[in-house]
Amino acid sequence: MMAFLGISPQLLFGQLLIGLINGVFYAMMSLGVAIIFGMLRIGNFVHGAQYMLGAFGAWYLLHLPDLFPGLGLPSLGYWWALALVPVAVGLIGAFMERVFIRRVYELEHAYGLLLTVGLTMVIEGLFNVGYGAAGQRYDIPATLKGGVNLGFMFLPYYRLWVIAAGLFVCALTWYIVERTKLGAYLRAATENPNLVRAFGINVPRMLMLTYAFGVGLAGLAGVMAAPIYQVSPQMGQSIIITIFAVVVIGGMGSISGAIFTGLMLGMIEGLTKVFWPQASTTVIFVIMVLVLILRPAGLFGKETASVHAANISMARPNSFLENGRLWLPILSGVGVVLPFLVYPVFGMKIMCFALFACAYNLIFGYVGLLAFGHAAFFGSSAYIAAFTAASWGFPPEFAVLSGMTVATVMGAVFGWLAIRRQGLYFAMITLALAQLVYFYALQAPWTHGEDGIQSVPRGYLFGFIDLEDTMNMYYFVLAVFLIGFAAIYRIGRSPFGQILKSIRENELRAISLGYSTDRFKLLAFTLSAMFAGLAGATKAIVFQIASLADLYFTTSADALLMTLIGGVGTLLGPIVGAIVVVAMQKEFATLGAWVVVVQGAAFVLCVLFLRKGVVGTFEDWLATRSESKRNAAGYTADLAAKGAE
């Protein structure tokens, strides 16, 4: 056979085959995510972890004798796993639905995503504790060993099997949802749950079964993937973000669309690996960007015109806790004495993350947009500041400004793209765009891959203040923090902030009064990115490093967690949240891999029991107290009046 463009057919077809296999997994996974999203309105972030559970399930069955020595258990192979594991994973799914997910159906969909992010961290964290980063081998079953030589390429039987079985499962799912009575009920339940309930159908059970089914699909994909990829705790982590991108590209609307999109993107990814290997990790995200520009509703999406931002702010407008003029001096005072009470480095870390959370709160709390990719702004800015300081010798103030500028521009572009879609899609898009940046930083030469940019010089501020001196550095960070805090406070209470508030309260009404709300959201998003950038750049100078962790989705999740713990939309919440999270990370640092588990559990507990956050709960308490005081006062006044009669 002839080589095409200097590429051997073996390579081309080999990659296409791998692409097709990836495509089958994307299709199976995005099918589950799309069904769960469509029927339950839950952005099932934990889908990747459930896929990982499937792979580990297969591995466990194989190693039953080693895991439980003395019980005389047999080692169950691949075919047993194929039959048992999806059911087991589905049952775990049903349990998770019952215990956790069911509790957030009625809430803003932000909580569903947060909850599943928390569950993901717990599950993946636990497996990480148990197995570390190293993968476990899972052999191809004996019956499917070997392959056939097609002349132009070697086709392993196992891969053929995966493609055939995967396509069959997809087709079967399509048939069930689109062509059977059960599927008709399911679809009706999403459009009008009350109607279906009136037919005497147990809707909660149906939702649980739907969730279990979607999760079971992920488990099945996991078993099928076990012999191809390594069985490792991380295997679900990056695939879920890709799956979200696939769902965004396909758009909600049709099951066949989800399947087709998954397969197609797998193939495109495979082809990219042949012609431009460096781009293969990012190509799906780039396609997502193109689709958003050209066909915002997605390839198969029928956009429903539901405009509404999530109103989850926990602030009480006239509470003294919301009064920045009071709190700015208090924070300044505390900030000045803090380094004499705790390690200055600890204080600086808190302030960097508090600023980051305040920036995030600007978009999530003030506007109600569930952004889930703020790591992109924080991390990019950290990298730019580190690079300009280390390689170009920029003084710290210019390094920080450079980082901020890049974050601002990036925020404008990402916001412009993401605002085309509403609600959960907004979260998925911001997440996917941030992942794009992460993969870029992983590969670009100037970011030094896994190492990051290290030994960043702190330099001389304004040419004469030596920041190598810890106290000088500390007060610089304090100044940055206070300026950021004051600026964000001002934005919230400006004419612009008033419009943001109205958008959060009732977007449709704001539009009907003549406000093009998308433009306001875009400006708010850009400003939020700018301050996230300020935080990231400052962090890079303080800790003298910019690393991939700054760009990873866990950093976006941190911002969310801090805001949530403190109290979404409150003035002080992000600061309180930052203190809690940073302190927690420090406390549990000795526990190593457990930190993620603890953080995940904090997420879950917050969503279930502390939705108002520390500050929100405190404000509520104050409100009830002043209420009962007023009642008591009214009562005494009544008595006095009576006595006077």
């Binding site: 004419p495 008033q498 419009i499 539009i511 009907s512 433009r519």
Partner: protein, 253 residues
């Protein structure tokens, strides 16, 4: 012909909206004369609210065209339409619940000032609007409640607040979706008087179930049933039309 066009503030042709194949509004032609009060009536589910949603561009029509002041606005976005001077109220009162009563009205007043993107200014710069806010609140009888949280108001007061907010934009065309529904008699009279007083130099289209209000206020009435225009004319013409009577009785069975 241009003369006639200039007399109509709104001209709708062949307007159709289908939801999943079901035509909520179908092939509606409607002209609304400038400075008139035009009522839109019809049984529940007739498509009145959908018609409002179409001409204010909350929904994109499946077919047909809409002209406002002679300009084709069929493909414009809703905020832009509002900025042209067509402002609506909603059937279920639309307010900003966690803002104060005064702030609600101020949101509308703020737009023409052109400072809504000024994120660096303090919102005390908006205090120049306070006098106008008080005037508007006094007009709807809310001056006592100025600093109360809007969400805590009783229903009738919320509707009054929404009305004041809508009026704050001094719209050329005011669309009112059932302005008196759910109100006590006293409030109904207050709103009716208010509609009359603001109708002097603007056009009003209103959806209204209270026929005595319609009889008193409307210059012209269009009756909608199952998405189609059933009859159009003055109150006496419409109220004696046998098809209208049948639609109302048939619609309520």
């Amino acid at each position: 012909m241009t003369r006639a066009a200039a007399d109509n503030i709104v001209e709708v042709r062949g307007l159709t909206k289908r939801f999943h194949g079901f035509a909520a509004v179908s092939n509606v032609d409607l002209d609304v004369r400038r400075r008139s009060v035009h009522a839109l009536i019809g049984p529940n589910g007739a498509g009145k609210t959908t018609f409002f949603n179409l001409i204010t561009k909350v929904h994109q029509p499946s077919e047909g065209s809409i002209r406002f002041n002679g300009d084709d606005i069929t493909n414009e976005d809703p905020a832009h339409v509002a900025r042209r001077g067509m402002v609506r109220s909603f059937q279920i009162s639309a307010i900003f619940p966690r803002m104060t009563v005064a702030e609600n009205v101020r949101i509308a007043l703020q737009r023409p000032k052109g400072i809504s993107f000024h994120f660096w200014r303090s919102d005390s710069s908006l205090s120049v609007l306070d006098d106008r806010v008080d005037e508007l609140l006094a007009a709807v009888g809310l001056e006592q409640m100025r600093d109360k949280t809007a969400g805590g108001l009783p229903y009738g007061r919320k509707r009054a607040l929404e009305f004041a907010t809508t009026l704050a934009l001094d719209p050329e065309l005011l669309l009112l979706d059932e302005p008196t529904s759910g109100l006590g008699t006293e409030d109904v009279e207050r709103i009716a008087a208010l509609i009359r007083s603001v109708s002097a130099n603007r056009t009003i289209i209103m959806v209204e179930h209270n026929l005595s209000i319609v009889a008193r206020l409307a210059d012209r009435i269009t009756v909608l049933a199952r998405g189609k225009i059933l009859a159009e004319g003055t109150y006496s013409e419409v109220s004696t039309d046998p098809r209208v009577i049948e639609a109302y009785i048939g619609g309520d069975e």
